[in-house]
């Protein structure tokens, strides 16, 4: 029995060295060499300074910005340090209340737009950090953003198209629009 414990202990230590140190460090080295931008968080820069990540959504509530997915993270929406979904069940009244509030906020920012609201704009995302919305959700907000910025809708449409990606390889996932990149591009346009 004593020998068995010694065998086990030695095996555990060696395996820990291989799997817990060698493997992640080798992966880190290769990742930094081959895909440095992705391995370090796919950061987006403005004037040479990181202002966010292409993959991590930020919260927008002003009419001049496209709004992203609602986020259930605390203490603020899109808290990158504490990802979480709402975990509200489908029959939970709190879920319907939250949806109603989000619809009211969208309508208040865009009076006169009575179109049905695309579902992702009223439901919290799985991570609380979803960086994207569907093309439908972008179209729903397009007139509002154009008006708030005094831009031609066609110009905004162009930018939306620039940050829209289709299904990967034509099949996988869903078409989507990157909200942070789109809003940064809108701001950059305004500066010009």
């Amino acid at each position: 029995m004593k020998r068995l414990i010694l065998n086990s202990l030695a095996m555990l230590v060696l395996m820990t060295a291989i799997l817990g140190l060698l493997y992640p460090l080798a992966t880190t080295g290769l990742a930094q060499l081959l895909f440095p931008a992705q391995a370090n968080g796919s950061l987006v820069s403005r004037d040479g300074k990181a202002v966010g990540s292409r993959l991590i959504g930020q919260s927008f509530t002003e009419p001049k910005y496209f709004w992203g997915r609602p986020s259930a993270t605390a203490p603020m929406a899109n808290n990158g340090a504490s990802s979480t979904p709402s975990n509200q069940g489908p029959t939970n009244p709190a879920l319907t209340d939250a949806a109603r509030q989000r619809i009211d906020a969208l309508r208040a920012a865009d009076p006169g737009n009575a179109a049905p609201v695309p579902v992702e704009l009223v439901t919290a995302s799985g991570s609380g950090l979803d960086p994207e919305i569907s093309p439908a959700a972008a179209q729903y907000q397009l007139a509002r953003v154009a008006k708030a910025r005094g831009l031609e809708p066609a110009k905004v449409q162009q930018l939306v198209a620039r940050f829209t990606s289709g299904r990967q390889f034509g099949v996988l996932g869903e078409p989507r629009v990157n909200v942070l990149q789109l809003n940064l591009a809108l701001d950059a346009l305004a500066k010009q």
């Binding site: 493997y23 992640p24 370090n40 979904p85 979803d130 996932g173």
Partner: protein, 600 residues
Amino acid sequence: MTTNDFIQVAVFLVVLLLLIKPVGSYMAQVFADAPNRVTRFGAPVERLLYRLCGIRADEDMGWRRYAIAMLVFNMLGLLAVYLLQRVQQWLPLNPQHFGAVTPDSAINTAISFASNTNWQGYGGESTMSYLTQMLGLAVQNFLSAATGIAVLVAVVRGFSRRSSLSIGNFWVDLTRSTLYILLPFSLILSLLLVSQGVVQNLKPYVDVPLTQHITQVEQLKDADGNPLKDAKGNPLTKESPATVQTLPMGPAASQIAIKQLGTNGGGFFNANSAHPYENPTPFANFLEMLAIFLIPGGLCYSFGVLVGDRRQGWAILATMLLIFVPLAIGAVAAEQAGNPALHGLGVDQQASALQSGGNMEGKETRFGIAASGLFTAITTAASCGAVNNAHDSLTPLGGLVPMWLMQLGEVIFGGVGSGLYGMLAFAVVAVFIAGLMVGRTPEYLGKKIEAHEMKMASLAVLIPCALVVVGTAVAVMAPAGVAGVANPGAHGFSEILYAVTSASNNNGSAFGGLSANTPFWNVLTGLCMFIARFPLAIAMLAMAGSLAAKRHVPPSAGTLPTHTPLFVTLLACVVIVVGALTFLPALALGPIAEFLISAH
């Protein structure tokens, strides 16, 4: 369901089936008794490892010795993870300065990762240091998976060896599973994941300025950490401006790769595979789904090779697919139908070219419905438990599918190794039932199935069932069990049932609303995870020991062939009947009741 929903499911199944044979025959070579080009390649490393550990690799173990070695090694691993969490505040690679994990949470997590469950009561990015993640959690991701494969290979030897007192050497099986299968596969997958945007670094979290400043609302708490409330009972809050977003970093890809491949499922981040740094693109998602089924599926083929009849492996795989495919399609269809509660509010849940539609609460835009529903079915059919959407927010029937897939005993692909040995226990029960019908001694793969084998197979089938039923009963009767529930009504019961089901089948996914990081839940789920893993594995090794000692019985006219569609159907029926008889009453109180309420 939309056409694209069907296409995404079909593409997944086709790619999986194309990979079964190459991966399966490679793994069969790893565990072949005779040396071959695969095992000769790594022989020097293996020899060095054995010498350093003082292990005699040529020692053939009987089932008892095999089981004891497995148990001792796993208990030491469990202890190491526990200790690491308790002292992480004094160790390096802790840039966020996380403190020690509480004892009940630490022991729960240690059992969870050693038992290949990877149930998580904690949030990764706010609890565990990089060192704990690497040396503790990631290592157990490998070793628990390797243990599952080792036990499976020993059980298969029970069928393939004749009149033998031994079922192999635990150390060799463990080492080979790790070095030839899990490690190289993980390295490849982790780099593919990084290419898609999964982070892999050792840097501290990055603060970036927010493009639009927002308001953060903090709940005020008293000195004991209890939320303060005003006279009306509403929580008191403090509002302040937020101008900075913190981006989490860390060696995520290397851990996520093994978390998927080893059917572990413990996320690097709290949101698991819904987190954009853990699962950034639809292709990353596809790889992560494929990785879950790759080894459990491939092992079916390896099993066929090792018992000398490939058809036996295909038959087991066919049984798994027969149950998996309809349930996976059911999960996608239920989610695509959307949430009736939102219908009257002016919400557009229709699928179109511009949006996936459906029930998007808790789901990510890039995955939509098909890639989320399919992931849900895969992660619960296999005992992975990684999630790319919030299972708690699934529609009632969409939530029923993952719950029931787990309750079937995690044998539809199941855990790496453990899924197939669980399915072999069901196969033994199936030939026994067939034997009863025609009044002959049952045989499986040329071995007579007698009282001892039946006892062990029944134990393996019944342990998880009993744990779920008893554990759920205890939790709903205990105030501390009900206290964790987040959603009202039938859904609250579903949260409890799901938690105990997940722990008792070593899955690890959750209806995440349940506050499970409490002493009550940590102890209850800890016990369930432990009993579901180790006693069950020992029962299977005991069965292997007695099977290996038996002579081979050549098939005769009265032998039930076990590679035919007839047997596949019989086996699927046995799995379904056990799962349905045990759990239908409980499911009626949870998801089925909620479905009837919501459809009303």
